[in-house]
């Protein structure tokens, strides 16, 4: 395939469709995932005793019967681990303590010689519960008896529900300084944004539109389930093998959680082989804490905890549901004057990670629009459903469904073209963001016009008017944006070492979760050092050997880790220049690298191959050598970021390092009778800053897009009135197959460089999923004149809405 991007013309390796450096391992089955590693005959298996109730007090646990089963090594309960931990907030327990908070929560574990024995014995652990009333909706959690009643009597009183708290000790929990839990309530975090003057913004408006939108919970569905093996040897050293996006963060959380047992960072080692898909689900620490804790109970023996597909659905992070209330004011000329967004997040039983999704969404819930007067309340609400957490898009997919649906409705009311309306208000470089900082360079306008052209915006399907067939067509548009959500000091680092033949090994601790970062890091080092990418090896992390990386999340790796690699390569290059200048009495400024050799601008004949000196040095006339193994070092931390701001307004900090933006549109057909949607064409444009490897960017587009389409067309998690997940397998929770691929996908890469990105690059991984839902909602409205305000927009929902509309001429759902 030919590259047509800007970067490919300027560079030798950057911007090229380099073949994945991990490709061969993956197509041959050589790539090892946690469960592929052989731990020998001494490997023990753990089965988990799970809560059958969404909310209950634990009265007693009797393990006697289970312990008597031959082959059972240990039965472990929460009594042995009364510790709290968590990424952003310490609200999570290794095993449930005095109460359980969701169905499937871990209460105890049985460790046995084999899996079947562990499973059998786990059924014999007797737990006595006292059932409590489960709180299954945000409205119940906030003490608002119905959806209608969500007006506040007063700011202070809002959400107070002291009699029915899921975490009665909420006020004692430690958390990051940018969280604001509310005492005596189920509100774990309340993110407020106040910009401009909302009232006068609405007064200025010629038209005000208010509406509500609902998004359910979703599951990541990586094909590899979570798996984790722990081995605590008799010297007290704990080694963990995990399917994880976050080896160093895991080590840190294991240390925090197990510190009372005397573990320090140097005692714990996390090894992460290839990961079979993450999508956020394998970020932070979820079930891995069990293998870590259990390993300390069976010293000298490895113990494995592996989730079944069903457990993968109900006891890992889930994408949080949200109820959004939007009020928007617009002038006749199409200028948005005011936006009020109220987001109630169903964050589940533990929010140590999920509360930061709520925070990130709150900061950015204006969408990529320039709006002078803004009020956003993003409220993280505890419920007795499984813990919410990070999922590709990190809250943006959720709020954007409502916002971009609303934008379309607004355009319609004003009789403006939906694309023109967006163009008029689309954010530009230097515009003031909702929290006061200014917007980074971006190609949003270019993305919008290119997508409009590719989808032939404005071109109608005339045959639809004849009204003969049941098939109608529609087009829908959506913008998107997303910033990495991370602590201000999240950092990446890199060691880069040469081998005798001039090839390279790069040591990093980001995770190759499929996005292709190994390849892109190799391309970056290749460009600086003139060594082709296929001579560069990246390895999966081992926290003992590879330098620090915060986590592989937030689409920040290309940018942050890429910067670390670039600096490490530059460091190695500088060492090479210094050495050659010193050993051969040349001038550093005259030297440059080309084709794996040092060359001189002054002396065209001079060429010193890396393989001649890079490890063993440069020989001198007297038989001595100068130099030694060249090892580069690089790190990156965004020193300009700060999460400090006024809690009442959100103004003051620079919580987001930059946004990646784009636009997407869909052309679809609907069978009015069955409600079935056929996706004919999608045009998708993203501003990658610089596409380091366009083919891999396109891979993110085809993959993320289908994952996003599935959330709007058919996926959703269904719970019964006791809080039990009803569809915890791939038969009942259907994810897309080859038969669900859109007929045509037009991928458009825009490149407006990110000034502090490696070669101008910024991340695109999560973004490709974000606009899918609203663009489909908008296309459905275009085709049928029916606005569906709750996801997913299933065939059934459409068919019923069509029927309802034809019966009473009403619209809306």
């Amino acid at each position: 395939m030919k590259e047509d991007n800007q970067a490919s013309a300027k560079f030798k390796y950057i911007g090229k469709n380099t073949k994945r450096v991990d490709g061969k391992e993956k197509i041959t089955g050589a790539a090892k995932y946690v469960d592929d590693i052989d731990f020998g005959n001494s490997l023990l298996y753990a089965a988990i005793v799970e809560s059958p109730y969404a909310h209950a007090k634990i009265l007693s646990i009797n393990t006697k019967k289970a312990e008597k089963i031959p082959g059972v090594v240990r039965v472990v309960t929460g009594n042995e681990f009364p510790f709290r931990f968590g990424l952003y907030m310490h609200d999570r327990y290794i095993f449930a303590q005095d109460r359980v908070r969701f169905i499937g929560e871990q209460v105890a574990a049985v460790i046995a010689r084999d899996e079947a024995t562990a499973q059998r014995a786990a059924k014999l652990v007797e737990v006595k519960y006292e059932e409590l009333k489960p709180i299954l909706s945000v409205y119940d959690a906030l003490g608002l008896s119905s959806k209608k009643e969500n007006k506040r009597s007063s700011e202070k009183e809002f959400g107070h529900n002291p009699k029915n708290m899921i975490h009665p000790k909420l006020s004692e929990y430690t958390h990051v300084p940018w969280f604001f839990p509310q005492d005596n309530s189920n509100i774990a975090h309340f993110r407020k944004i106040r910009k401009g003057d909302l009232e006068s913004g609405f007064q200025e408006a010629d038209y005000i539109l208010e509406d509500e939108y609902t998004v359910p919970r979703y599951a990541h569905c990586a094909i590899e389930t979570h798996a984790s093996v722990g081995l605590c040897d008799h010297s007290g050293r704990l080694t963990m093998w995990t399917a994880s996006q976050s080896p160093h963060t895991q080590r840190h959380l294991f240390v925090e959680a197990l510190a009372p047992l005397g573990f320090t960072h140097k005692d714990i080692r996390v090894i992460t082989p290839y990961v079979g898909g993450g999508f956020g689900g394998k970020a932070g620490v979820s079930m891995e804490i069990l293998a870590a804790a259990l390993a300390t109970c069976v010293r000298g023996l490895p113990v494995k905890v592996i989730w079944s597909r069903s457990q993968e659905f109900y006891n890992t992070y889930q994408r949080q549901g949200v109820h959004a209330k939007i009020k928007m004011g617009v002038k006749k000329d199409g200028t948005i004057t005011a936006l009020e967004q109220l987001l109630y997040w169903d964050a589940g039983a533990y929010v140590e990670y999920g509360a930061n999704v709520v925070n990130a969404a709150g900061l950015s819930a204006t969408g990529p629009y320039r709006i002078a007067n803004v009020k956003i309340d993003s409220v993280c609400v505890y419920t007795n459903l499984p813990p919410g957490g990070p999922y590709r898009g990190f809250g943006y997919s959720e709020f954007l469904f409502g916002l971009e649906s609303h934008i379309n409705e607004m355009a319609k009311k004003l009789k403006l073209d939906a694309v023109d309306f967006r163009l008029k208000n689309a954010i530009a470089e230097g515009d003031k963001l909702a929290y006061g900082a200014s917007m980074n360079p971006n190609g949003l306008h270019e993305c919008i016009t290119k997508v409009a052209k590719a989808i032939e915006w404005g071109k109608k399907y005339p045959e639809d008017n004849k009204n003969k067939s049941n098939i109608v067509h529609g087009k829908g548009f959506s913008l998107f944006w997303k910033a990495p959500a991370m602590p201000p000091n999240a950092s990446s680092s890199c060691f880069l070492k040469f081998n005798e033949d001039g090839s390279l090994n790069i040591l990093l601790s980001a995770m190759e979760i499929g996005q292709g970062y190994f390849t892109v890091m190799a391309q970056i080092a290749a460009e600086i050092l003139s060594v082709p990418p296929h001579k560069i090896r990246c390895e999966t992390p081992d926290t003992d050997r590879n330098p620090y990386e915060w986590q592989t999340v937030a689409s920040h790796i290309t940018w942050s880790c890429g910067n670390a690699v670039k600096r490490a390569a530059e460091d190695a290059r500088d060492q090479i220049f210094k050495l050659v200048a010193r050993a051969l009495e040349m001038q550093q400024e005259d030297l440059y690298l080309e084709d794996e050799a040092v060359k001189s601008k002054k002396d065209g004949k001079f060429s010193l191959k890396f393989s001649e000196f890079i490890i063993n040095g440069i020989g001198q006339k007297d038989g001595t050598f100068r130099g030694g193994p060249i090892i580069g070092r690089g790190m990156f931390m965004p020193e300009f970021a700060s999460a400090m701001s006024d809690p009442a307004t959100g103004q003051g900090g620079k919580p987001n390092v930059h946004y990646t933006v784009g636009a997407a549109a869909v052309d679809l057909a609907i069978d009015k009778e069955s409600g079935k949607i056929k996706i004919n064409k999608v045009a998708f444009a993203v501003d990658a800053g610089c596409a380091l490897n366009p083919d891999l960017v396109k891979g993110q587009i085809t993959g993320g897009l289908l994952q996003g389409l599935a959330t709007v067309l058919y996926e959703d998690m269904r719970f019964d009135d006791k809080g039990k997940l009803l569809n915890s397998n791939f038969t009942d929770y259907k994810i897309p197959t080859t038969l669900d691929v859109p007929e045509e996908i037009i991928s458009i890469i825009v490149e407006r460089p990110q000034p502090d990105g490696p070669f101008g690059a910024r991340g695109v991984g999560e973004h490709t999923m974000i606009p899918a839902a609203p663009m489909v909602g908008n296309a459905v409205e275009d085709a049928l004149g029916i606005r569906i305000k709750s996801m997913p927009i299933t065939a059934e929902k459409i068919a019923l809405a069509v029927l309802e509309k034809s019966e009473n001429g009403g619209a809306g759902h």
Binding site: D22, I223, E224
Partner: protein
């Protein structure tokens, strides 16, 4: 009980108990880790292998059922090196996390054995039992559509397909 079967071209005998699942036996006892477990109930296709040349989901097969039969895993399809299917998948950067790859390659191998150069529709049909959460399938389908078996066997057009 003791069973004998041919595994990737080699005769093997093994003591198994009647409830053991083939996928587990392959992975945990015979060291063949290319077939993966993604669901354990026939939904995902990550465990796809060939049983007498036909693709099956090895999580749904009891080990005892393969007595007297021939089993091929991805490892067994590479006895002459990387196949043309694998080559195209590599060229197209088709896979991301790679967890689903062995299952897809085995299923695609079966397809091409029976249909030297399938259409995109036929590829979609044949691979509909294999789930991939990363790629959106497009790069996988594109790659397989570039493979023509006859072409690689040096008889371009011999199948009436006129090559690709």
């Amino acid at each position: 009980m003791k069973i004998s079967f041919v595994l990737n071209g080699e005769k093997r005998s093994l003591e198994v108990n009647p409830s053991e699942i083939l996928l587990e036996v392959l992975r945990k006892r015979l060291g063949l880790t290319s077939p993966k477990c993604g669901c354990d109930r026939g939904d995902c296709g990550a465990c796809t292998i060939l049983l007498d040349g036909k693709s099956v989901k090895s999580c749904l097969v009891l080990a005892v059922e393969v007595a007297g039969h021939e089993i091929t895993t991805l490892e067994g399809l590479m006895q002459n090196g990387i196949s043309p299917i694998q080559e195209k998948l590599l060229d197209n950067n088709s896979f991301q996390c790679g967890y689903c790859a062995p299952g897809f390659i085995v299923a695609a191998h079966e397809l091409l054995e029976n249909n030297c150069c399938p259409s995109v529709e036929e590829i979609r049909e044949a691979l509909a039992g294999n789930l991939c959460r990363c790629t959106g399938y497009t790069p996988i389908i594109d790659a397989i559509a570039q493979v023509c078996k006859c072409e690689h066997e040096g008889k371009k057009g011999g199948c009436g397909c006129e090559g690709r």
